[in-house]
Amino acid sequence: MADGVAQGHHQPTNTGIDSTKLGFWTFLSSECVFFATLLVGHLVYQHNFHTGPKAQDLFNIPMTTVSTFVLLMSSLAMALAVHYAHKGEHGSARRWVLFTALMGLVFLGFQVLEFSTFISEGLTLGVSPFASSFYALTGFHGGHVAMGVLWLLSVWFYGGKHQLTGDTALGVELAGLYWHFVDIVWIVIFTLVYLLPSTK
């Protein structure tokens, strides 16, 4: 057993599922509840305690759609990275991991641009419960994206000296699960926070 651990081999479990993977899915499951609290808070404050600039006047839907597209494509890049890691193609896996991280940085750039525009328009953090809940929700999501970028970059650097294939492919897969989850959360935020209030 000690040899198995030292060589990074996965231990057999009675479910047949790798314990690390099961634990990570449990973590993602709990993250759903975390984001639900922030989202509901924002949706309530959006309609009932709204002072200062209105959401419909500030949201730049075309720009947010582009940033959503970038995040979706980063999910494709991440899926390809996991695909190549499992296929044993180290170079391709490492390249797609880097590409995913770069698209994550582009998404964060869009978010910084959006926040700075909103603040210059008067939607500061403390101006209203709407503003506070908006920045809390999108800010925590952005924080998750930033953590994901750091994780992916660490995988990329690790891949400079080690293979991202074989047993290490699970590490790439877990980073991918986290990244796709961040994408899924954004899918919900994009619809509920940006699109629905902007309908005519």
């Binding site: 047949g16 499951s29 759903c32 609290t37 899926a79």
Partner: protein, 96 residues
Amino acid sequence: VTDAHGHAGPTRAELIRLASILSVITLIEFGIIYLQGMRGLVWAVLAVLSAVKFYFVASVFMHLKFEHKILAWVFAIGVFNAVWMGIALRNVIMLA
């Protein structure tokens, strides 16, 4: 498709096809909000399209479709908890 290590997952072509579908859905979501006077219908369509995107990313990109069913249940329980807790929290805030 199963690779050399016995790991099942989507092919490269399937991943690219799904990304294309997701892009088209996002484009529809963007365009549909400009429709005038059909707010109820637009809201319903947006909710369905968002759920479809959610499902596709979770099932194919996150491999839930190819994994042990326990993992899908673990995630589904989280989503279920999030929805119910969201509804409860909304009611509490609205009544306060």
